[in-house]
Symmetry: C2
Subunit: 397 residues, 2 copies
């Protein structure tokens, strides 16, 4: 006898809503602390100084409480928008008006999906692609096309093929230390693709949530900054990886022609972003030596990456991955096993990773996993890799 | 010669996006401090004790920093969801699982719009209606029907007419101290409408953002709590009016069959609500005498209402309004003037109110304004009313 599934009334678009295995795994690991998790994209919360945070909170209560505890401008808190312009963006046509603060960069994705995507909108994405973008865009049900990725960016042959054979309206890309692959577009490819997008008049949604996570402190120019058509390019940024995801703040750099529409959609979504967090983050940026803070984050991630890389080489030499230039993940191929099987057995053995199929717009045959190295302690990381190695060998013999 | 309007590429739904005059006026009043504003729905930020907030922030840094600065469960922070169940909801089928924390109750409206509203969904709303709901729902372009309101709730004759002549799928209502009218459904009407909705199998989106703002401290049972069909009823709540809008937190009570869909949409929208604010609000609820705090808010609003009422009676006896039982607005009819004209002249004379047409799903002939009394000081309020009176008489003679 089959279980009866209740028929519920809902809008047609809900059949395109995607759930995230990541957040289900996250929930599992919170409930069961014995599971060692390489699954989340969790930054380390101890990288932010408690002392500075404490004094900033105190100052907020003393000096800015009326602003911090009130509704705010739908576009965001002006002092913070100015700081973003000065320190965290590179497009030459920037002004505080071009920055709209969002509830994490994820909200920017939802707003842009709502703004651009009908069922006849052709949207190009990377393969693999950031899962959150699929979640944000899917309910609007656009036609997805995907371009295969190489370690230095999209495969140009395929990109040109797709663009010449289809009218692509929007390209969503994550050019720096991409989630999940950590692939980073080379400067050369950035230039070529910028001019290709200009020529074809394609809207670019450039997700730069990982922009400042280069292990050496390098910062690539955004693809948007290399475009001539500054009316067709959006850049998304985030405080989650460089300060803390707890403040739930990001921003979108919005071309002038789209600003009033973007802000009106934002109003309908949530009126305005969290004012309390905006005031605190703005003060933090004032008080901290931000460049120094970034360097310490970058060093921390770089060291953690080294540790995971050497553990993998020692205990799982069969696994294949390219060395990332930044970010918080290894993108690992496990040969000769089924992805589903490996994931299931790993969870049973108390270790979690995210299966690559989660990030794929198309069916895959290879078995890939995204492994985070920023969250687990070194001892736990070793134990986790050993558990995976044991599961892998048990399946593979 | 006409101005050339740039043609921009965007999704079809964007032609239904509504902007809000309120937020434009708000911006104007922030930029020009000479304008006395009755326009916003701004709670008074000084009602929250700085000392308690300070000690809660300190405790958060000391005890909960790793949680507060991290990503969180898409459904919300569990301790906070438990507190909401215990103190701030009344439906009998409640459990912490039924509460999903949102980015203000406004986000709940957007999620429910996304979840239920296609172009062939019939949505019943009140007239007048909360503007933010129109902003949230309009991009999904449902068919709106509206029911005329009386001071004690919807006109029952018209409600039954509409329900018998049309298949209504969703009813959005704001039964307690409605924004903008402050009309509050009587217990009798709540019971009758609950059973009518059960009989017709209509989904209710019950917006209870103002639930605790009764001047006498009364709390009406939610319409949802009076329904038998607990699979067809959603209740939205908010911390904006009872603690602070700065924390940007609300919640939706979601029936079991819709929970996984609601959470998946929430993930696509923003991954999770602001974790930092959730931890602080949870601690605030622990530390404060919340009932006492509510009483002081209610008393404050009650006193402010008395002041505005007596100023209106003294300086503008022509204006008509019913006495509200709670909330933060007077809903005022100004006879024999054009709404547009009065608004324009008022702004020129340095005083702002929100025109009633903003809250109306249909064309109106009368001239109504929403006047907030919670934000201005008493002296400013008097000066503001005098300015309106002068403008009104100048137009009317």
């Amino acid at each position: 006898m089959e279980t009866e599934i209740p028929t519920i009334f809902s809008a047609k678009r809900t059949s395109f809503v995607r759930t995230s295995v990541i957040r289900e795994i996250l929930k599992l690991t919170v409930e069961n602390s014995d599971i060692l998790s390489f699954a989340g994209g969790l930054p380390n919360p101890h990288l932010l100084s408690k002392d500075i945070l404490g004094s900033v909170m105190e100052a907020t209560i003393r000096e800015n409480i009326a602003t911090a505890l009130q509704y705010g401008d739908s576009s965001g808190y002006l002092p913070l928008r100015k700081q973003i312009i000065e320190e965290l963006t590179d497009v030459p046509w920037n002004s505080p008006d071009s920055i709209i603060i969002t509830h994490g960069s994820q909200q920017g994705l939802d707003i842009l999906g709502k703004m651009f995507m009908d069922s006849d909108t052709n949207v190009l994405i990377e393969d693999p692609v950031y899962l959150g973008a699929l979640q944000a865009f899917s309910p609007y049900h656009p036609q997805f096309f995907s371009v295969p990725m190489e370690t230095d960016g999209p495969n140009l042959f395929w990109l040109e093929e797709i663009l010449s054979q289809n009218k692509i309206h929007v390209f969503y890309a994550n050019p720096s230390y991409q989630n999940p692959s950590t692939y980073t577009w080379s400067l050369e490819k950035r230039k070529q693709i910028a001019s290709l997008l200009d020529e074809k008049e394609i809207i670019l949604i450039e997700d730069e949530a990982y922009r400042y996570l280069d292990f050496e402190g390098n910062v690539y120019p955004s693809v948007s900054s290399l475009r001539k058509r500054n009316d067709l390019t959006f850049v998304l940024g985030s405080f989650s990886k460089i300060l803390s995801p707890g403040f739930r703040l990001g921003w979108t750099v919005v071309p002038e022609v789209y600003r009033s529409l973007f802000t009106a959609i934002k109003q309908g979504n949530d009126l305005n972003s969290n004012q309390f967090s905006q005031v605190i983050v703005s003060k933090l940026l004032d008080e901290m030596d931000f460049k120094d803070h970034l360097r310490s984050i970058q060093r921390f991630y770089s060291e953690k990456k080294e540790i995971l890389v050497s553990l993998m080489k020692n205990f799982l030499p069969e696994a294949k991955f390219s060395l990332p230039k930044g970010g918080m993940f290894l993108w690992v191929e496990y040969p000769k096993v089924s992805e589903k099987e490996l994931m299931k057995q790993c969870l049973t053995s108390g270790v979690a990773m995210v299966p690559g199929s989660e990030f794929s717009p198309v069916k895959r045959t290879s078995s890939n996993f995204r492994m985070n190295f920023s969250f687990l302690g070194d001892v736990e990381m070793e134990e986790g890799v050993k558990r995976i190695a044991k599961v892998y060998r048990d399946i593979n013999t």
